[in-house]
């Protein structure tokens, strides 16, 4: 197994019993996946979801078929686990995930505007602005930044239509850019 092989080739090799292929795949994607999760939930939860994602992939290796890019496959697993995590918690799945065709630009909860304002005033750091985004927009942005997914792949990984994915990402970028301009001013 070599480092030059594609993700899909490595995953196929792992499916067929090459444990070394898994090590390469894991090293390639562990940071991206970890940051995708840790930007959306507390660190202990992110670690748990991170492990669950890889364990699911390991358990499903015999059924793996390269129907999509490996990254899309990996983040799709992680997205499903994240949604399950939201649903188990209180208040449940964030509202921003509810709308299939349009995206509420501002908030998931009434507390969010205050949080955004506090972020702007306190630090102006982009990561904190990202944290204040509605969950569905934040996830779309992170899938793009950490996963390197295209609009179509974001839609596939999150189980929504392309237009919904596009709308979420557009709102996220617009919000972040607007806030960044405010910092400069």
């Amino acid at each position: 197994m070599s480092e030059d092989q594609s993700d899909e080739q490595l995953m196929l090799a792992y499916r067929d019993g090459d444990a070394g292929a898994f090590d390469i795949l894991y090293d390639r994607h562990k940071g991206r996946l970890y940051r995708y999760l840790v930007r959306q939930c507390p660190v202990p939860v992110a670690e748990e979801l991170f492990q669950d994602t890889w364990i699911k992939l390991i358990k499903a290796r015999e059924r793996y078929e390269p129907r999509a890019r490996f990254t899309t496959y990996l983040f799709h697993i992680a997205h499903n686990l994240l949604i399950d995590h939201y649903r188990r918690g209180n208040p449940g799945l964030p509202e921003s995930y509810d709308d299939e065709t349009t995206v509420v630009a501002d908030t998931d909860t009434p507390e969010q505007p205050d949080k955004q304002a506090a972020n702007r005033q306190a630090t102006g750091r982009l990561l904190e602005l990202i944290d204040a985004l509605p969950a569905a927009q934040r996830e779309a942005f992170l899938l793009r930044e950490e996963g390197g997914l295209s609009l179509e792949e974001i839609a596939e990984a999150t189980g929504v239509g392309r237009e919904t994915a596009k709308s979420r990402l557009r709102y996220a970028v617009k919000t972040l850019r607007g806030a960044m301009q405010e910092f400069r001013e």
């Binding site: 444990a19 898994f22 940071g31 364990i55 015999e62 982009l126 557009r170 970028v173 850019r177």
Partner: protein, 237 residues
């Protein structure tokens, strides 16, 4: 949303946005703890070393045709078994009809038109068409009968005195499920009638004689059989 937002998104997707640049600057290189790495790598090796699990096996291309063939074979087997069972039930039905059907005891029965016994109807339906079919089928039917219907000697036994078997005279002759065997052999019929007469079952013998004459109109009846019937009739009745 307006065109400016779309342009902003397009620039962002093209990697020309300062949002991405700022994100890469701020985002640290966070990675999972080394213990998590070790745990997951070990899990991946364990899974490989465990070998294929039955539940996780991908279906092979040949499994579907094989399953379809197996279902087909089973279905055909069941159908054949049901058909065979139905045939056996029909033979058993004939047997029970024969047991219930008795020849007329009074003399008027001889002159009155009698319905064809079920066994003959059955024979028309099942045996006669076989006359054009290979003889094997007919042989199977004939050969199969003794197993289910014992011969006269077996069923009655020589110990039964001719005059005492009144029940046999009414129900016995027709009640003998075997009857003349094989049905299309006139000599078997005559032999059967003779044995009935010798046992004193004159009514039954006459009933069979009548059917013999209907069945084999061109065949003669030996005079001694008539004599036997006459003697037996005068002796027993």
């Amino acid at each position: 949303m307006n065109g400016d937002d779309d342009k902003l998104l397009d620039r962002y997707l093209a990697g020309e946005s300062d949002v991405s640049r700022r994100y890469r600057e701020e985002a640290g290189g966070e990675v999972p703890p080394a213990a998590v790495d070790d745990r997951l790598r070990a899990a991946a090796r364990r899974e490989v070393n465990a070998g294929p699990r039955l539940a996780g096996l991908r279906p092979r291309a040949w499994t579907r045709p094989l399953a379809a063939t197996a279902v087909l074979v089973l279905a055909v087997g069941i159908v054949l078994q049901v058909v065979k069972e139905n045939e056996r039930i029909q033979f058993d039905d004939v047997k029970s009809v024969l047991e219930k059907t008795a020849p007329p005891e009074s003399g008027e029965a001889d002159s009155a038109p009698q319905p064809e016994p079920e066994v003959l109807k059955f024979e028309h339906k099942h045996v006669a068409p076989d006359a054009q079919a290979p003889a094997r089928k007919r042989d199977e039917i004939s050969a199969g009968e003794p197993a289910r219907a014992p011969s006269l000697g077996e069923s009655r036994g020589a110990a039964t005195p001719p005059g005492q078997d009144r029940a046999g005279a009414t129900g016995g002759a027709y009640g003998d499920a075997a009857g003349p065997q094989p049905l299309d052999d006139p000599r078997a019929w005559l032999d059967y009638i003779r044995r009935l007469a010798e046992r004193g079952e004159i009514q039954a013998a006459r009933g069979y004689l009548s059917r013999y004459q209907e069945r084999f109109p061109g065949r003669s009846v030996p005079p001694e059989l008539f004599d036997l019937l006459e003697r037996g009739g005068s002796g027993v009745e």
